[in-house]
């Protein structure tokens, strides 16, 4: 049978999928339904966030040697991602401050900052996939990458629902 951590992961994704069907093309066009989706997705995040380590432990089934080497590298990885996440928060805060009087110069800067953040995220991902490959077999690294990807997909949907389009 499906284990508890898998249930949480699958549940988070399926709830997001169901919610995303209400976050439809019409909602994007009309800018309605954001509030409902935003609060619902917060619950989804809470579902897995506290148990991310538990999901990784359950799914990767690391040997003692792998486990000993893994966590310090994984923590460094999440710390680097947190740094990029903070840059994203600053970008969104700046957007919120300028939303009612957006200029082309500010929009230009926002676009460039956004792509800098995406490049940094990509660099971190590639760098740490190489590091994880030195700790455990590629099948386990692939599984870790999938878990991260699934959780990122839920996060990105929350972000997409939270940030309204430029007026």
């Amino acid at each position: 049978m499906i284990n508890k951590s898998q249930l949480k992961l699958v549940a988070a994704l399926l709830i997001s999928v169901v919610l995303s069907s209400s976050f439809s093309v019409t909602a994007i066009a009309k800018e309605d339904g954001y509030g409902k989706l935003k609060s619902a997705l917060k619950d989804v995040r809470a579902l897995y966030r506290a148990d991310k380590a538990e999901i990784i432990i359950d799914e990767l089934k690391m040997t003692k040697k792998e486990n000993n080497a893994f966590w310090s590298v994984y923590n460094a990885y999440t710390n680097e991602l947190k740094g990029v996440g903070n840059d994203m928060v600053k970008l969104i805060a700046g957007y919120a401050d300028n939303a009612t009087s957006m200029t082309n110069d500010y929009a230009d800067k926002m676009i460039d900052d956004y792509f800098d953040i995406q490049s940094k995220k990509m660099d971190i991902l590639e760098n740490y996939v190489s590091k994880f490959k030195k700790i455990m077999p590629a099948t386990k690294v692939a599984k870790l990458y999938q878990i991260e990807n699934k959780l990122t997909a839920v996060n990105d949907l929350e972000l997409a629902a939270s940030v309204p389009l430029i007026k």
Partner: protein
């Protein structure tokens, strides 16, 4: 929290698929044709994207004339990488029950490369978009794209099972 999730899912009428045996979750990728998922995602995305962009960017005639050719070429390039990504999903499905470390390594590297390629394409077209419409509209265009990508990605993430 798990209980809350289950109640929510029951309300949505899909609880049975979640509380299914592990094997059922695992064979999900084989029950749904990868080609069907690909077609659904592509057609949904392409038709909706153009309508949404048109509605939200409110371009004048001059902007439209400059923007759409750039956009068409941009989506063509993105489409090629998306095809590569779906071919990777197919390879994953084919090797699912006996995925070797070598194959996992190959698929992982290829997927990372495809993500890098998408980012390169988006950055490559940035200046062309900026030359066709004001920066505010370019920012709005990428916002619309990101919102649609988020929907597509969460659906894909739900469809693809974890490595065994």
């Amino acid at each position: 929290m798990v209980k809350t999730a289950i109640v929510l899912l029951m309300l949505c009428g899909i609880a049975s698929s979640i509380i299914a045996a592990e094997t059922e979750v695992v064979v999900e990728i084989q029950k749904v044709s990868v080609d069907d998922v690909y077609k659904m995602v592509k057609s949904l995305a392409e038709s909706d994207r153009k309508v949404l962009i048109s509605k939200n960017l409110k371009m004048n005639k001059d902007e439209r004339q400059k923007f759409w050719p750039v956009y068409t070429q941009y989506r063509k390039d993105i489409g090629k990488v998306q095809t590569d990504q779906f071919n990777l999903i197919k390879k994953f499905a084919k090797n699912y029950h006996s995925l070797s470390d070598d194959k996992a390594n190959e698929l992982l590297d290829a997927h990372l490369q495809s993500k890098r390629n998408i980012l390169k394409i988006r950055k490559k077209y940035l200046n062309d978009f900026k030359n066709s419409v004001p920066a505010i509209k370019v920012a709005k265009f990428f916002q619309v794209e990101n919102k649609l990508n988020a929907i597509v990605n969460v659906r894909l993430a739900e469809q693809i099972p974890l490595v065994k």
